[in-house]
């Protein structure tokens, strides 16, 4: 039984990601590239995500209290005198609410969502196995398995996991969508219950729909057949998303062009190789070796150095 199973398939059980006996993804490796040099910080992606994925709108008070549910958030950074890493300044911004405390220009925008790491720190620590690495390279979250220990959030270096602090599901409570707003909920996506962790899924409901279609037609999903909600809403086209294993995919080409290797923790950013254009691609907090599936593109400017 299980011992026989173990012995027969031993080598498969010892596969790791993303290097060293790595198990190949089964035809798909969903990945993303976000060009921050194009991003205008318009927040359309965030709004689209709220609409697509039934994200709870928590209101100003809970938002300032750190209980927001935005799976994709736009972070703003200023150069010059503003130092976003200074906790005191940041706390002052946070506390200031809607007041204008930022300069009118010099902003940089960083849309950040779950990075779908190949070696995700959140996955190993979940006591119930509610979050896993799927065969198509997504960091999945199983809501009805989650018990809400919140360890995944503690171990997530990007803090892109959001917890249901209140009951946003039950219409009887004050926190749920009031009538008739509950009519606009996406029927393809569950409304998460109280006490579970949630995060960006790369719009897995869309992916699964096209993957099932493709499988019935005995092919792989074609480039452009599926878009995530944030990608669809991005007016500048800063977000590209697709199957990295597909040689036609834009995202795969971008990764290749930037020399960003999913199994490396240091990229060749800013090195001028080949055609003398500087490489712009990098991934956030690569040094921690979670091997994220989201590549960011930004030229390092003189002023920022």
């Amino acid at each position: 039984m299980s011992i026989a199973n173990l012995l027969q398939n031993w080598s498969r059980y010892r596969d790791t990601h993303p290097y060293g006996g790595a198990k190949p993804h089964m035809g798909y490796k969903w990945a993303m590239a976000i060009d921050m040099d194009i991003c205008t910080g318009c927040n359309a992606c965030t709004v689209a995500c709220y609409a697509e994925n039934n994200l709870a709108v928590v209101g100003k008070e809970k938002f300032l209290n750190g209980k927001s549910m935005h799976w994709i958030r736009i972070e703003r950074y200023w150069h010059d005198e503003q130092d976003p890493t200074d906790p005191l300044q940041l706390a002052a911004y946070r506390a200031s609410g809607a007041g204008k405390h930022f300069p009118d220009q010099g902003a940089h925008f960083l849309p950040i969502m779950c990075q779908h790491c190949e070696a995700a720190p959140c996955e190993t620590v979940c006591p119930v196995g509610a979050t896993n690495h799927t065969q198509d390279g997504i960091n999945s979250q199983i809501y009805n398995r989650c018990v809400g220990s919140r360890y995944c959030n503690v171990n997530c270096p990007y803090k892109v996991r959001y917890f249901n602090w209140f009951n946003y599901q039950d219409p009887a409570t004050e926190n749920a969508w009031p009538e008739p707003l509950n009519q606009q909920l996406n029927p393809d996506v569950t409304v998460r219950s109280k006490g579970v962790m949630e995060k960006c899924t790369f719009c897995v409901q869309r992916l699964r729909a096209v993957m099932v279609d493709a499988r019935t037609e005995e092919r792989l999903v074609r480039e452009g057949e599926v878009q995530t909600a944030c990608q669809q809403a991005c007016l500048a086209g800063a977000i590209s998303f697709g199957n990295m294993l597909n040689p036609d995919s834009r995202v795969g080409k971008q990764w290749m062009e930037q020399g960003v290797n999913i199994a490396l923790d240091v990229q060749v950013k800013n090195e001028r190789v080949g055609d003398n254009t500087p490489k712009r691609g990098y991934r956030i907090l690569e040094n921690l070796r979670p091997y994220p599936s989201v590549m960011y593109l930004e030229q390092v400017r003189e002023s920022a150095v």
């Binding site: 940041l90 979940c126 018990v147 220990s149 919140r150 171990n155 270096p157 959001y162 602090w165 921690l288």
Partner: protein, 485 residues
């Protein structure tokens, strides 16, 4: 219910007469007064079941009130959602996990005192180890409650346990939380067994001295027909020694695994190699301080002045001081390695603890846990009951703050500056449940001491016998050496 106490019949009356003329001076009491007879030990402990001082009942009432506060808070949180505890997506843990670590820590002193000192034949443990073991068990039960309170979906907690099911879904054995479940579960099970096994001879004494009521039935059942025969003692001795060895290893691995909840994550401020020994020693430290608190309370409440005496207290205080110094060393080492290392995130995190939003609490905990124990170094304060009472409470406040300072500033100041969040002050729900947990723990201890022997009779008798023999300058077991083959 009537308790029959037999006449005071001093054991080895004639030898003790040879030893002392009149009462020995207080300084001459080594662990136990040599004038204590076996029958007196029995009658004192059996009497402790019946007539505690009136303050006992006040304490019970206060504990029940505290539990009520905690239960009300938990009920509110259960109905509304964890949001009422005022955590945020950055500060996802808080008082609950800090208190979990704290209570697991309190549990460790009992094992150290009982098992480790048993192995090393430190006789002074004999008067304190029983209630220390009970504290181990009850502190673990309290710690377990915090895991439940902490969960977002408490009603699904059984997912964490590996149980066979038709879906083939198991808990994730890679998670330190599942290790916790295993190791803390093992520790709780084994410490309860250890407590019970060590109590069997005493329960037999209760069985023989109490003649009716529910107590008689309870003790008759629990004593399992113990009659103190040589066969019983012989096997008991080896079994108890074996259990001690297992318990020591379990205690060390227990808090090491709790520390791996933090050390295994990559959060700066958690990801520190020296956490396991740091946690284990911190646990022993705070647990020993809690032992002193309970020592003083039981001594007064149940009139145990004869057994929980000043000599034992002095040794307990010295042990606590030694542990405090080891812990201080590990604490400084932990900070030194972070400060000296090249991990900027961890170093910023350390600076933040010392200078940031939680700096006041951080320095307070350093003062309470590092500076305050120095009072214990002075002989004149070592047996001063009010001083030790206040001091042991302060040390535990310091050690609770230490656990909170591991969690609150660290989560607020992670790798990712955008998510820094320093202004999450725990709401009344978290404080209420923490408050309730103290009531729960104290209630369990108080009930235990009223129903079971809070000091071990047979070990005290051994201690008294050994002291008498030593004083008599007679090698223990003289006929035995002749009789051996």
């Amino acid at each position: 219910m009537t308790i029959k106490i037999k006449d005071d019949k001093p054991f080895l009356r004639d030898t003790s007469k040879m030893l002392w003329d009149g009462e020995p001076a207080a300084a001459e009491v080594r662990d136990i007064s040599p004038h204590v007879s076996f029958a007196q030990i029995t009658s004192d402990v059996v009497n402790s079941l019946e007539n505690p001082r009136p303050i006992y009942w006040w304490a019970i009432a206060i504990c029940v009130f505290m539990i009520g506060v905690g239960v009300a808070c938990e009920f509110y949180q259960y109905r509304t959602g964890l949001g009422v505890s005022n955590k945020s997506n950055t500060n996802v843990w808080g008082v609950y996990i800090a208190s979990f670590v704290f209570w697991v820590g309190v549990s460790h002193a009992g094992t150290l005192l009982s098992a480790l000192l048993h192995l090393t034949h430190s006789d002074w443990r004999k008067s304190v180890f029983r209630y220390a073991e009970a504290m181990t068990t009850f502190a673990l039960m309290t710690a377990g409650l915090f895991v439940l309170v902490h969960l977002g979906r408490l009603w699904q907690v059984y997912y964490v346990m590996p149980y066979p099911n038709e879906r083939g879904v198991w808990s994730n054995f890679q998670s330190p939380l599942v290790w916790d479940m295993f190791v803390i579960g093992a520790y709780l099970t084994c410490s309860s067994i250890f407590l019970y096994t060590g109590m069997i001879p005493d329960l037999a004494v209760f069985r023989d001295n109490i003649h009716d009521g529910w107590r008689k039935k309870l003790y008759t059942f629990l004593a399992m027909g113990w009659q103190g025969t040589d066969r019983h003692w012989r096997n008991f001795r080896v079994a108890y020694l074996t259990l001690s060895v297992y318990l020591i290893i379990l205690a060390v691995s227990g808090h090491s695994v709790v520390s791996s909840d933090f050390a295994m994550s990559q959060q700066p401020g958690f990801h520190i190699t020296s956490f396991p020994p740091y946690f284990v020693v911190g646990a022993l430290y705070s647990g020993n301080a809690a032992l002193i608190t309970v020592f003083i309370i039981l001594r007064f409440m149940f009139r145990y002045e004869q057994y929980l005496n000043m000599d034992v207290l002095r040794k307990l205080v010295r042990l606590t001081f030694a542990l405090a110094m080891i812990w201080t060393y590990l604490h400084l080492i932990e900070m030194a390695t972070v400060w000296y290392g090249h991990d900027t995130a961890a170093r910023d995190q350390l600076y933040f603890k010392a200078t940031g939003a939680y700096a006041g609490w951080w320095w307070l905990f350093n003062f309470l846990a590092i500076v305050c124990p120095w009072v214990m170094a002075f002989r004149r304060w070592q047996t001063n009951l009010p001083v030790q009472m206040v001091l042991s409470l302060l040390l535990n406040v310091g050690m609770w703050l230490e656990r909170w300072m591991i969690i609150a500033p660290t989560l607020g100041h992670s790798h990712y500056p955008w998510t820094f969040d320093f202004d999450q002050w725990p709401s009344f729900v978290q404080w209420g449940i923490l408050f309730g947990s103290f009531g729960w723990f104290s209630l369990l201890i108080l009930i235990f001491c009223k129903v079971f022997p809070a000091v071990s009779m047979y070990e005290l008798k051994e201690l008294a016998y050994a002291r008498k023999m030593e004083a008599h300058h007679a090698p223990v077991g003289e006929p035995a050496t002749k009789g051996a083959h």
